[in-house]
């Protein structure tokens, strides 16, 4: 089986600081991968390099066998790679429903010929809002949403691009336990519908219940990659998280 996402010897430095050091990672289609690491270990930098927000100096990122070098962020989105932001970044002047129209107009329609008609766009919006449970808030503005609804909007907007791979960057930070369970259940639902998901998270309970595979980053290096239970028993991971 060929991997959906293949990262080879990816490196990124900011001046003299090495943020990512020769990361290798391969994600198969349909997988649920958890990515953890202490603060500043390079998780978000990795996401930004994968999604084209940052340029990596060295290494390659291949998506469906295709080298992504030189592809801008919106082109990667159109290829089927979506991300949600660590801090929700909704389009503040638009209603919740209109927020979803942007990816439908610009990501889905870019690969969809003929373009979706107005009723089709409306139907997709409704379907996505129902999926994340925001249907009754479709005409609200983001400023009226609670934290969890904002996270759901963030995920719905990423899902609206019609991704093959969803990278959820700390979708649950600051949420309560039941809210975390809500989002985990949502992500598993998305995965069951065929989307490969990489979850970046600090909340171990969420990561453990979600991930089929766990990858650990520490100071820009990948130190573990495997079944979550094995990874958590790994001595090096323990050292990184708990100290010696």
């Amino acid at each position: 089986m060929t991997a959906l996402l293949e990262v080879e010897r990816l490196s990124k430095r900011f001046g003299g600081f090495v943020a990512l050091d020769e990361i290798n990672l391969s994600v198969a289609a349909g997988e649920r991968v958890g990515l953890i690491g202490p603060n500043g270990s390079g998780k978000s930098t990795l996401v930004n390099c994968l999604c084209g927000t940052l340029d990596n100096e060295a290494g390659t990122v291949r998506f469906e066998g295709r080298d992504l070098a030189g592809q801008s962020a919106h082109q990667r989105t159109r290829l089927g790679m979506a991300r949600s932001f660590q801090l929700p970044r909704p389009f503040a002047s638009m209603t919740v429903a209109d927020n979803l129209k942007i990816p439908l107009f610009y990501a889905v329609n870019a690969r969809h010929t003929p373009a979706l008609t107005e009723p089709e766009v409306a139907a997709r919006c409704e379907e996505l809002l129902a999926l994340v449970g925001l249907l009754d808030r479709a005409w609200r503005f983001p400023r009226d949403l609670t934290q969890i609804d904002m996270r759901k909007l963030e995920l719905a907007r990423a899902m609206a691009t019609g991704p093959k791979l969803l990278i959820a960057d700390e979708a649950m930070a600051g949420l309560s336990n039941t809210e975390v369970d809500d989002i985990v259940a949502l992500l598993i639902r998305l995965n069951e519908r065929g989307t490969t998901v990489i979850l970046i998270e600090h909340i171990m309970r969420a990561v453990m219940s979600f991930s089929q595979r766990l990858v650990v980053l520490v100071s820009g290096k990948k130190i573990a990659d495997g079944h979550p239970d094995d990874v958590m028993r790994d001595a090096e991971v323990e050292r990184a998280y708990l100290g010696q």
Partner: protein
């Protein structure tokens, strides 16, 4: 199809209002109405053009005067070859300013916020310096463009003809703004204004859209400037690159409201008319003072302009 019908009926409505304005101005029986009306309409075009970039995508352009002046100087340039009809000059002015808008966008749109605004200001200074030192278009001396008394064949006083041209341009500008606002392009612009990074992550080709905005905005400003030499008769760099164009094109949409096509229209009509009245009754120097005071007042009291104020009031009711 539905949106095409809606746009067509909107343009028709605009044309009817414009025709009404022309008939009304004729009924006043005073050529001064046309002189004053021309200036107000010119600001409607400028404010609407500014808003396509500044209001829709959120990139503040301080260099409106440069695009306006480019349109005007394109007319001077081509006029020296051969006295072309004004509508042709308008198209040429639009092409020149649109191209410069595209170029400026390409060079500066990687800058954001204040840095972009400063770059546009610099563009105005550079272009003014170029024109001052360009002898062919009159340099610092300025250039005369002799306006015929009447349009041949139409037996229409020339100022009325220029008023008509500007009226048509206002319709073009407003229709363009409204069509964009209700199109996918408008959604893309708004996404860029709200959050550029999120827009890009949602598949919006931000650079391309911003280039479309700078080109369109520049072209419309150039259109507004193209008939200006005929209107004023004598064009010099300091009048074409005047501060009032840059200030008014920002102030009018801000006072009217930047998120909708109607904001710049209302702002330009109100402020433009007010300026014309004070020019006659008090002094022409008071103009910019009024703009300044109003702008400060609105930024503090109604940051979303009159349209925002009106929406807030109508929601409360």
């Amino acid at each position: 199809m539905n949106s095409v019908v809606r746009s067509a009926s909107f343009i028709l409505a605009c044309a009817i209002v414009a025709a009404g304005a022309f008939v009304g101005a004729r009924a006043a029986g005073n050529d001064y109405v046309f002189f004053a009306g021309y200036t107000v309409l010119q600001f409607v075009v400028l404010a609407t053009a500014w808003n396509i970039l500044g209001g829709y995508t959120g990139y503040v352009n301080f260099g409106s005067a440069a695009f306006f002046a480019l349109g005007a100087y394109a007319t001077v340039f081509f006029h020296k070859f051969y006295p072309l009809p004004v509508p042709v000059l308008v198209v040429m002015g639009a092409a020149v300013s649109g191209l410069v808008g595209l170029g400026m966008g390409y060079l500066t749109l990687r800058l954001r916020g204040a840095f972009f605004a400063i770059a546009t200001l610099a563009l105005a200074v550079v272009l003014q310096t170029l024109v001052v030192n360009w002898n062919y278009v009159g340099g610092a001396r300025g250039a005369y463009v002799i306006r015929p008394a009447e349009v041949e064949g139409l037996s229409l006083p020339y100022v009325q003809y220029l008023f008509l041209v500007m009226l048509a341009l206002a319709v073009v500008a407003i229709a363009t703004a409204r069509i964009i606002e209700h199109s996918r392009l408008g959604y893309g612009f708004a996404a860029i204004r709200d959050d550029e990074l999120a827009a890009e992550a949602s598949g919006v080709p931000t650079l391309r859209l911003k280039l479309i905005a700078t080109t369109l905005s520049g072209a419309l400003m150039g259109m507004a400037g193209a008939p200006f030499p005929y209107y004023i008769g004598y064009l010099q760099p300091s009048s074409a690159f005047a501060l009032e164009y840059a200030v008014n094109s920002i102030a009018m949409p801000m006072i009217g409201g930047t998120t909708s096509w109607i904001g710049p229209l209302v702002g330009a009509l109100l402020l433009g008319t007010l300026q014309q009245i004070t020019t006659v009754t008090i002094s022409s120097a008071v103009n910019l003072l009024i703009v300044g005071v109003l702008l400060v007042g609105f930024v503090i009291l109604a940051p979303n302009g009159l349209i925002g104020l009106w929406r807030r009031v109508s929601v409360k009711r």
